[in-house]
């Protein structure tokens, strides 16, 4: 639901970078989206097309690198994979998990000209 705002933020970052780095068109965008970031990848693609219309990134390709969720299980004292925040530890079934990765949403890189 907030993917459109995220795409508007993304556009602002690109516009600012275009001034700093001296380019006028974005051809491809690489994003890293974690499984626990609360972002629907399909909604993000849709939002990207809408938000970039008429901008320097109109028609740009959107490459989304999806990263898995990862947590530290205090009971097992090791890293375990998680799909959601409320997952139990796949090894011991406990709930003492601290999410350590997969909650990021980052813009990594652009192909520009």
């Amino acid at each position: 639901m907030h993917e459109l705002s995220l795409c508007e933020s993304l556009l602002q970052i690109m516009e600012r970078s275009a001034v700093e780095q001296g380019y006028s068109r974005v051809k491809r965008v690489w994003l890293e989206i974690g499984a626990l970031a609360g972002v629907e990848v399909e909604a993000m693609r849709f939002g990207f097309d809408v938000a970039t219309r008429g901008s320097l990134a109109e028609g740009a390709g959107l490459e989304i690198i999806e990263l898995p969720g990862e947590a530290w299980c205090m009971a097992c004292a090791k890293k375990v994979p998680v799909r959601q925040r409320y997952d139990e530890c796949p090894a011991c079934g406990g709930c003492q998990l601290q999410v350590t990765g997969g909650d990021q949403m980052r813009i990594k890189e652009l192909e520009v000209e």
């Binding site: 639901m1 907030h2 933020s9 709930c95 813009i107 192909e111 520009v112």
Partner: protein
């Protein structure tokens, strides 16, 4: 002409050097790669940080109230304002998609309030709250409540500069909401389980609901309230006083003022 590896003409302006490039050499002639490595919400986070500085300099304790529509958030807030207005300077920022009905209800308590209409937007952001602060001008040392748009999804991601997110869940909703909307319950420091006066009429399993909330956020505090009968409200006020005192500890002017 990869600006990451600096393998093209001397345009490289990037510090990081990454040779595990997943698409290196893939770009078409005439184009180049620019490394950004920024959180998508970086801009919002800058505005939120500015708000947080504003609050910290003035000793303003800011709470971001989040819930689904219909949790009784506004009624709970109005009772809170009426009960605490003799004790603290108060202020309210109201977020709704449309109308100023809620801000009008708040102003009837005598507490200054400002309405932000988000229009199509489903959440408040740091930028809009910053502008609301310019108009509302909350007092030094005050308690400031931001009533976010009724939505358990989007406001979780947008930092407004608050000290705490407080999530309000009413017992007329499903007890499984904490695991259906885990991001919000994860982001909140306190859950108010509201409308508990209605429990005798419902099949709501309180223990299970609290257990679900702790599963997504082992540190979350839970207070059971009824804004209608007043049950549990004293505990909520005690939490407000304590969290404000913690936040003000060491403040050059306001520490020790209670």
């Amino acid at each position: 002409m990869c600006t990451v590896c600096g393998c093209g003409e001397g345009e490289a302006r990037i510090e990081a050097h990454d040779h595990h490039h997943h698409h290196h050499g893939d770009e078409s002639p005439g184009s180049r790669l620019v490394r950004i490595e920024q959180d998508i919400l970086a801009k919002n986070n800058e505005y939120a940080a500015a708000n947080r500085r504003h609050f910290s300099e003035r000793g303003i304790h800011c709470l971001n109230l989040v819930s689904s529509p219909g949790s009784g958030k506004t009624a709970l807030l109005i009772r809170t304002l009426n009960d605490l207005k003799g004790e603290f300077a108060l202020g309210v920022i109201e977020g709704d998609q449309q109308t100023s009905l809620d801000a009008d209800r708040i102003r009837e308590t005598g507490v200054p309030a400002i309405q932000i209409n988000t229009g199509k937007g489903c959440h408040l952001d740091g930028h809009r709250v910053g502008h609301a602060l310019e108009s509302l001008k909350p007092e030094r040392g005050s308690l400031l409540f931001i009533e976010n748009v009724g939505n358990l999804v989007c406001p979780a991601a947008f930092d407004l500069g608050e000290a705490h997110k407080v999530v309000i869940l009413s017992v007329t909703e499903g007890e499984d909401k904490p695991i259906k909307y885990p991001d919000m319950f994860h982001a909140a420091d306190l859950m108010l389980l509201n409308k508990i006066d209605l429990l005798p009429h419902l099949d709501f399993d309180r223990e299970r609901c609290i257990d679900y909330a702790r599963r997504v956020n082992p540190r979350i505090k839970v207070i059971q309230t009824s804004a209608r009968t007043g049950e549990g409200m004293a505990d909520w006020y005690q939490w407000l006083r304590a969290s404000r005192q913690m936040a003000l500890a060491g403040h050059p002017v306001l520490a020790g003022e209670g």
